[in-house]
């Protein structure tokens, strides 16, 4: 009973302080919105209109038709026509174009004979995304009767695009962003919240009162759970209205997965706070966790493509598991029971971090 009074006392105090800290309050709302707009609009892996140039030494009906087809596909925009393949290479070197199309003078003969490649694409491969996009150009049918060409190709291998028929990046990014924003704000807020008390001397007063470590930690965590849920709702709502990302699965399951994930991050924040000596150190440590989270969790790059060591590290990070959960539920409409392993991983992480944090937080100065 007394314990509960103390937990509520700490909670109320925390909320009061939070409501007076305009910067933090602004971050709660501002950070998700800003990231949502940045990632949603700016990051687009579905690249279009790459700058390109071509050399057409054949200058036949067929070659002109091909250049027109390529332009119509909107993958490249031809800026200029040059006289020789050497000039294409020079343009590529100078960074003036990303793709060069070189059509040799015996182009028509090669198309008919099919004995050698009919033309060359010169691609700036430093950006793998550009390379990937340019390779789509290679799928453009060649031949005097283009209609038959398309059919031949499509019959060989058919790609069925599940869950994201329009190939929009936002669909992948919005649910992933829930995890990224929550990782950043939850870990940062809690670690700073405790370290700030240390820095301002409040902690020396608190540890001289009967308040227990567990009560203090709980009182500090609960307000941020609420804040995390507000952010979750905000991102999913904006994602739905602005980026038209639907929630295919159950909202309750989204809530459940997010709750466990929020707790994992808050526990991590508390753990950081018991190690860090200043708010600045707490921030540094937060970014130490944040960067691998954003890079390795599958938010940016597919998890399967990473080397085993990176995958191993990623398995420790809560964001990896949450990304699987939230993408599964929101995009594929999967049931949470199908991903019990990831839920369990988050639970174990929370328990371990919280136990460590409480054990490390002692009511002494030495």
């Amino acid at each position: 009973m007394k314990s509960l009074v103390r937990v509520f006392a700490v909670m109320r105090k925390e909320l009061r302080q939070l409501s007076r800290d305009r910067l933090t309050f602004g971050m709660i709302i501002g950070m998700p919105l800003l990231q949502l707009l940045l990632f949603g609009y700016a990051i687009n892996t579905d690249v279009r209109n790459l700058s390109a140039a071509y050399v057409d030494e054949a200058d036949s009906h067929l070659s002109r038709q091909l250049i027109a087809d390529m332009g119509a596909a909107q993958v490249v925009t031809f800026g200029q026509r040059v006289a020789s393949p050497g000039e294409l290479v020079a343009l590529l070197d100078a960074g003036g174009i990303s793709v060069g199309v070189a059509i040799p003078d015996d182009f028509d003969r090669r198309v008919i004979a099919r004995d050698r490649p009919a033309l060359q694409l010169l691609v700036d491969g430093t950006d793998p995304i550009v390379l990937g996009v340019a390779e789509r150009l290679a799928a453009i049918p060649l031949g005097f009767d283009s209609q038959t060409g398309i059919e031949e190709r499509q019959r060989m291998i058919e790609v069925r695009n599940f869950y994201n028929p329009e190939r929009r990046s936002a669909v992948n990014i919005v649910p992933g962003l829930v995890g990224v924003v929550l990782t950043m704000t939850m870990v940062l807020f809690t670690s700073v919240a405790v370290v700030r008390e240390k820095e301002r001397g409040n902690l020396e007063l608190l540890i001289n009162t009967p308040v227990r470590s567990t009560e203090l930690m709980l009182g500090k965590i609960v307000p941020y759970i609420v804040i995390g849920l507000i952010q979750l709702a905000l991102i999913l709502a904006v994602g739905r209205t602005v980026f038209a990302v639907p929630i295919m699965g159950s909202e309750w399951q989204v809530l459940l997965a997010s709750l466990v994930f929020i707790c994992a991050n808050l526990s991590l924040g508390l753990l950081i706070s018991t190690v860090a000596a200043s708010q600045f150190q707490a921030m540094q440590m937060t970014f130490f966790v944040f960067l691998p989270s954003i890079l390795l969790s599958g938010f940016m790059f597919p998890f399967e493509g990473m080397p085993e060591i990176a995958q191993g590290i990623a398995e420790i990070l809560p964001l990896t598991h949450f990304n699987r959960l939230i993408r599964g539920i929101v995009l594929r409409g999967a049931d949470i029971s199908m991903m019990a392993r990831d839920m369990a991983a988050l639970g174990v992480f929370t328990a371990a971090a919280l136990t460590l944090a409480i054990a490390r937080f002692n009511k002494r100065l030495d």
Binding site: K2, V5, R6, F8, A9, V10, R12, K13, R16, Q17, R20, D21, R200, G201, N202, L203, E204, L205, L206, I207, N208, T209, P210, V211, K363, R364, L365, D366
Partner: protein
């Protein structure tokens, strides 16, 4: 424990080391119940460390302390409800109001709601904070902050109050109000341990321990301490105090010389029967007219006698003929005083007795 009623605090051989540094060195304490007991010493003398050991914030490296009949290190949690502790720097929440701070402290001690409200009101009026409930603690003046901190420290009606330099940032008139509050508490039976580096504050205590570099060098009532020191104190009033300072500085049997505006206070070992004769002769030889009297040692004389003279064995037990190091007493250094003030210089005016730094000792920060 047997003596717990008579003594609020008993310590034997209390020692605390930080690495190779001995912050507190084998301190014995017997602090009677219901008294105001002072710790006097410069910064770094081990006052704060001792207080932190007594309230269980630091574990002693050796020795033990019994506080209110309980072991300070082992039973620190049980003690929290019976001890009030006021930290050196203001440690309440600056972004909460006066009322919210007190309410929070009341909740942390799990004082029932009605009783809590009554006590908050009572404390606000007793410590002259009525009408300021809604003001942010960060916007209070130094004196108001200290009164608020005291109110928070006695919210749970502790039997023992530990105050670590409570008035270091408070002007003299507010300091007097603060001390009125302490006497009131002592009258109701609260034992108070207060550390200070102000002489005028230490003199108000019933009993006093003087700490110097971690060692307790004197202990007793201010009166008893004055009687026990090994030196006579001769006060010299001269129009040309500079010349008198210079002349007396050459006399080896004067072990300490303190300049106070137009007055000088000289300490001469008790073993010498005619202190006035020595001073008189020295001044006559220099052709200086002055009024000289033997006086009862004030706290500063006591402090000088037990700290600065102690380390050099000059408390009267030894011959007064050995030369005195300049670093000990700034005598004979009158000429160079303007350029290089000695580290422990005590040459300051305190004629008005109101200065902020009255009796304020300088020392190395620890």
């Amino acid at each position: 424990m047997k003596d717990s009623a008579e003594f609020a605090i008993r310590a034997r051989g209390l020692t605390r080391r930080f690495g190779s540094l001995v912050a507190v060195n084998e301190v014995d304490l017997d602090i009677p119940t219901g008294r105001i007991y002072g710790f006097l010493g410069p910064n770094g003398s081990g006052k704060s460390t001792t207080i932190r050991m007594l309230c269980g914030l630091l574990r002693p490296s050796a020795g033990r302390a019994t506080v209110l009949g309980l072991d300070a290190a082992r039973d620190s949690e049980a003690l929290k409800n019976r001890i009030g502790y006021m930290t050196q720097s203001f440690s309440l929440y600056q972004d909460l109001s006066v009322g919210e701070n007190l309410q929070f402290i009341g909740e942390i001690y799990a004082i029932p709601r009605r009783e809590r409200r009554r006590r908050v009101g009572e404390l606000l009026s007793r410590y002259n904070l009525a009408g300021r409930e809604g003001q942010r603690a960060g916007a209070l003046s130094g004196g108001q902050r200290q009164r608020l901190a005291l109110a928070a420290a006695v919210m749970h009606r502790p039997q023992l109050l530990l105050l670590d330099e409570p008035t270091s940032a408070v002007d003299p008139s507010n300091r007097r109000d603060f001390w009125e509050g302490l006497f009131e508490l002592a009258e109701r039976g609260t034992t108070i341990l207060v550390s200070t580096h102000y002489m005028d504050e230490a003199i108000r205590c019933h009993n006093l321990a003087i700490l110097d570099r971690g060692v307790k060098v004197a202990d007793g009532s201010p009166r008893a301490l004055g009687e026990s020191i090994g030196t006579h104190v001769v006060e010299v009033r001269a129009d040309n105090a500079d010349a008198a300072h210079l002349a007396l500085g050459k006399i080896p049997r004067i072990v300490s010389l303190t300049r106070l505006g137009s007055r000088l206070r000289a300490q001469i070992p008790k073993r010498i029967a005619e202190p006035l004769a020595i001073v008189g002769e020295a001044l006559r030889n220099a052709g200086i007219e002055a009024e000289i009297n033997t006086v009862f040692p004030d706290l500063e004389d006591i402090f000088v006698a037990v700290t600065e003279l102690r380390e050099h064995g000059r408390d009267g037990r030894e011959s007064g003929g050995t030369p005195i190091r300049d670093s000990v007493i700034p005598r004979g250094a009158a000429e160079s005083r303007a350029e290089t003030a000695p580290a422990r210089s005590r040459d300051y005016a305190r004629d008005d007795g109101k200065g902020e730094h009255e009796g304020h000792m300088e020392g190395s920060e620890r």
